[in-house]
């Protein structure tokens, strides 16, 4: 499955997963930071936070498998070795956090014996023993990792914007939801430059 389009763009499935999860994770971080300071809206927000977390946990596994099966398109020539390494590290940090955060959330609710109720008749089993100290430690970890994910997200957006707006190497085209025609090899990378 390597058409000329997909060699310079992520596959359709990869792009679909990326943007769906981007929206979900951003919503999740927003709900998380809001609900801990909410009184009247706390319950409504928690009721979205838990099932959304479970959905992210499932999708991140799908996404990781997809990442192994469908490697990304080649890096643009504007990226040096160190930057490529950093970008890959950031990518896997985000996978790790998107996997760890819901799992820790599930674990901490288990240790506190809060029922983990999903919409409909579904409910998740407890994956850890009833232990308050364990709950407290996981609850703290959940917050710290959530801030770390937000930080990684900001860095990711910043890096992509620098490439797209400053270096102007068409970096974002690799991931935009629509199909982009491959660049003509003869075309200079930066039309502003003489």
């Amino acid at each position: 499955m390597s058409t000329s389009t997909e060699r310079h763009q992520f596959t359709t499935l990869s792009r679909l997963l990326h943007w769906t999860m981007a929206a979900m994770v951003l919503t999740m971080l927003g709900i998380g930071v809001t609900m801990v300071v909410s009184l009247a809206n706390y319950h409504a927000l928690v009721s979205v936070h838990r099932p959304l977390g479970v959905a992210i946990l499932i999708l991140v596994v799908v996404r990781f498998v997809n990442r192994v099966l469908n490697p990304p398109p080649p890096w643009p020539a504007t990226m040096g070795r160190a930057e490529r390494l950093a970008a890959t590290a950031a990518e896997f940090t985000m996978y790790g956090l998107m996997f760890a955060l819901p799992l820790i959330g599930w674990g901490m609710l288990s240790a506190a014996r809060y029922p983990i109720v999903l919409p409909g008749p579904l409910r998740l089993p407890y994956i850890l023993p009833h232990d308050l100290m364990l709950y407290a430690a996981l609850r703290k970890t959940h917050t710290i990792l959530a801030y770390l994910l937000f930080l990684t997200f900001i860095t990711h957006v910043g890096a992509v914007l620098v490439h797209t707006l400053v270096v102007r190497d068409g970096f974002l085209k690799r991931m935009v939801p629509w199909k982009v025609r491959p660049p003509e090899p003869a075309l200079p990378t930066d039309p502003v430059r003489p």
């Binding site: 971080l29 927003g30 930071v33 809001t34 609900m35 801990v36 300071v37 909410s38 009184l39 009247a40 809206n41 706390y42 319950h43 409504a44 928690v46 506190a112 014996r113 809060y114 029922p115 109720v117 008749p121 409910r123 009833h130 232990d131 308050l132 100290m133 709950y135 407290a136 430690a137 609850r139 703290k140 937000f150 900001i154 957006v157 910043g158 914007l161 620098v162 707006l165 400053v166 502003v192």
Partner: protein
């Protein structure tokens, strides 16, 4: 930018090459700052005066001191356990498994209001009963009730205001009556509830107290019909008035009596569901529903075992009133969500702390046998 409006295009000094780059870098900075700012806004960083679960919990700690490992409210208590025998009458109101005919294990906790886990038992102190119903093949239900027929405040904000207004003045050691009067002037519903509460008969102990759920909920049966409800636990033990006047000799007399009584014979309560009618307030726990509302006895709670917090399973439970099975849902009362949020914060704080021995010790429980 610097060019005159009438100047021909391209005239004047050529724009430095890096100007566009600087503008773009600036734009990126603005975008990232906006993202971070939006999150800081959602997290309440720009509104530090907003009432949050943390500030609520801080207020309990400020008034009664920080007692590591203990609940920030209803700090003094003992664990109990037993069963709930549903008689099936509740099934027409709610599809919750707990209301089917049959037996459900229960873990609970009797407590006294306030954040001091070593407070002396007094007849007037509000008594609490937290319960967890765990049907083996159904969802958990938790409820936290108190022995008041109406709640003194309508909103979480009023609860906080009242708490602050009743805080002792450091100069006199007593609450400032002017602050409380100002609060009551702003909250006539609290003054109204206070009249009801002033005339209430206070029972002699935990065992003959009626415990009220207070906030309204919505029950949904298997046909999908939704009903506004409130519930209460009415004791099978006969009412006996608390002795008025003289302060009790023993700081634990209420708990000692509970331990002695539960060891003599199991204690029973009837779970009574009150069915609301259109127009009955569901978002105002300061107002009782009319007496003539239909009341359904849905089963009997039997508590036959009492334990110190040191060993009781209740110690690890947050009696969050919004841990509800399918068939039960919160009403439109914003107080329920606020309770859930503050209970959760209190639970998280105490969970990570080493708890010293509770006031009612395993030896106290042993002595009562």
């Amino acid at each position: 930018m610097s060019t005159h409006p009438n100047a021909p295009a391209g005239a004047g000094r050529p724009r430095p090459r890096y100007a566009g780059t600087v503008a773009r870098v600036g734009l990126i900075g603005v975008i990232l700052a906006a993202l971070a700012g939006a999150f800081a806004y959602l997290g309440g960083w720009f509104t530090p005066d907003d009432l949050t679960p943390a500030r609520f919990t801080d207020a309990f700690e400020q008034i009664d001191g920080v007692h590591p490992g203990f609940r920030r409210n209803h700090a003094k208590g003992v664990g109990v356990s037993g069963v709930f025998d549903g008689n099936g009458q509740g099934a027409r109101l709610s599809k919750a498994v707990v209301f089917r005919p049959g037996r459900v294990p229960v873990v609970g906790r009797f407590s006294l209001t306030g954040g001091d886990p070593y407070v002396a038992d007094m007849p007037d102190t509000v008594r609490g009963l937290g319960l967890q119903f765990s049907p083996p093949d159904g969802e958990t239900w938790r409820t936290a009730m108190i022995n008041l027929p109406v709640f003194p405040v309508r909103t979480p904000e009023a609860f906080y205001e009242r708490m602050v207004a009743s805080e002792p003045d450091p100069a006199t050691g007593k609450p400032d009556p002017a602050r409380m009067n100002a609060f009551l002037a702003r909250h006539p519903e609290t003054a109204q509830a206070a009249l009801v509460l002033k005339g209430r008969p206070v029972s002699s102990g935990f065992e003959n107290s009626t415990f009220h759920g207070l906030n309204a909920f919505r029950f949904t049966n298997s046909a999908g019909d939704s009903t506004p409800v409130r519930w209460l636990m009415t004791p099978a033990q006969p009412f006996e008035a608390a002795t008025a006047g003289a302060a009790p000799r023993d700081k634990k007399y209420l708990f000692d009596a509970l331990i002695a009584k539960i060891n003599r014979q199991p204690l029973r309560w009837h779970l009574v569901v009150v069915i609301g009618q259109p127009g009955d307030p569901t978002a105002d726990a300061t107002m009782a529903w009319p007496d003539e509302r239909e009341k359904v006895d849905v089963g009997t709670l039997t508590l036959d075992r009492v334990e110190s917090e040191e060993t009781s399973a209740a110690t690890g439970i947050n009696f969050d009133p919004l841990v509800l099975p399918a068939g039960m849902a919160p009403s439109d009362d914003p107080f329920l969500s606020a309770r859930s949020a503050v209970y959760s914060r209190s639970f998280t704080r105490r969970a990570g702390e080493m708890k010293p021995p509770s006031a009612v010790t395993p030896a106290d429980v042993e002595k009562g046998k």
